[in-house]
Symmetry: C2
Subunit: 197 residues, 2 copies
Amino acid sequence: MARGRASGYPGQRAAILAASARLFAQHGFAATSMNQLAQACGLSKPALYHYFADKDALLAEIAEAHVRQLLAVVRDVEAACADPAARLPLLIRRFVEEYAGAQDAHRVLTEDVRFLDDARRTRILDIEREVVAGFADAIAALRPQLAGRAKPLAMLLFGMINWLFTWFRPGGRLDYAALAPLVADLFLHGALNMGPE
Amino acid sequence: MARGRASGYPGQRAAILAASARLFAQHGFAATSMNQLAQACGLSKPALYHYFADKDALLAEIAEAHVRQLLAVVRDVEAACADPAARLPLLIRRFVEEYAGAQDAHRVLTEDVRFLDDARRTRILDIEREVVAGFADAIAALRPQLAGRAKPLAMLLFGMINWLFTWFRPGGRLDYAALAPLVADLFLHGALNMGPE
DNA sequence: CCTACCGATCGGTAGG
DNA sequence: CCTACCGATCGGTAGG
């Protein structure tokens, strides 16, 4: 949000978070300097430190807000979807949409969270685990025989979706909008047809 | 290979590469200093620069050697596997083994290669593309109807396997040895049962 | 003139 | 909220 005048403290905070997410996603957390960040925001470096205690606080807030939003989507689908077998396809679609709208934050979540200190990282991983559990429930609802392997299967599903966004930047030849149905197709047919034990 | 006396130039080079891969995988490329690296190798920093031109050269050599080894596995399976339908399951198994034996290099390949300059990164991505093409061929051989979507499917498969190694460090509760058959099961049943168009 | 290094320090920049 | 800085450490290289 370079030079875009953000009115008030909350707006400025949000603008800084958006610019940080973009720079962290682009160059990596460690390779992004606070000076670069200040310049991108049209602020001095000390001004930046007025809004956030340190560089890690930016990383933590970007990642936590994103993963909380993902958990909210899980809860929303659980509440809205009466038919348990329909929950998983809907979850997949909603997540791909969610990722697409928050690619910078998502990349920060998947690549940079490991550099946080234990306390902050644990908070985020705990929320992540709730998200995975939500997917695992949806898998078990789709086919109860898979209940014992629902969590590992959920993680493989996340592997596919996450990788999609590591590889495909917007505007590429194979974009994620075209790949989302392929992911759903592959996973659902695999889950429904694989051996029961 | 800290303090391990490596006899001769080639041995010392190999020891440095192994230590670099470990440190880059552990702390990230940007967050690993040449001083740390030198210390881990039991060398002075100038000695390190005797073996490698700069920090990027280390990253490039680790990633390129690993991806070349992956391509060699693809070629090996292609040559050894007479039955085309049996190729994909074998490829999956061989790759999980290969990844398991080179986790540090693999993490460097998947997370740090993007920081290389264009020339070096392109060299590595070109080899990666050959590997993906090998998997796509195996998918098309398994079920010719999928030929048109073989490459995207190959990438989803890599997504699952790569994510496995991002999440599971050796000795965890759910290790990759147990998950490899799950990956193969899910993918093969999905690929064989999904819609033909 | 080669190899395989050493102790010390270069010019710049990191987070704060 | 800026200019002006800090202690330390960065990647890389000097002479010997």
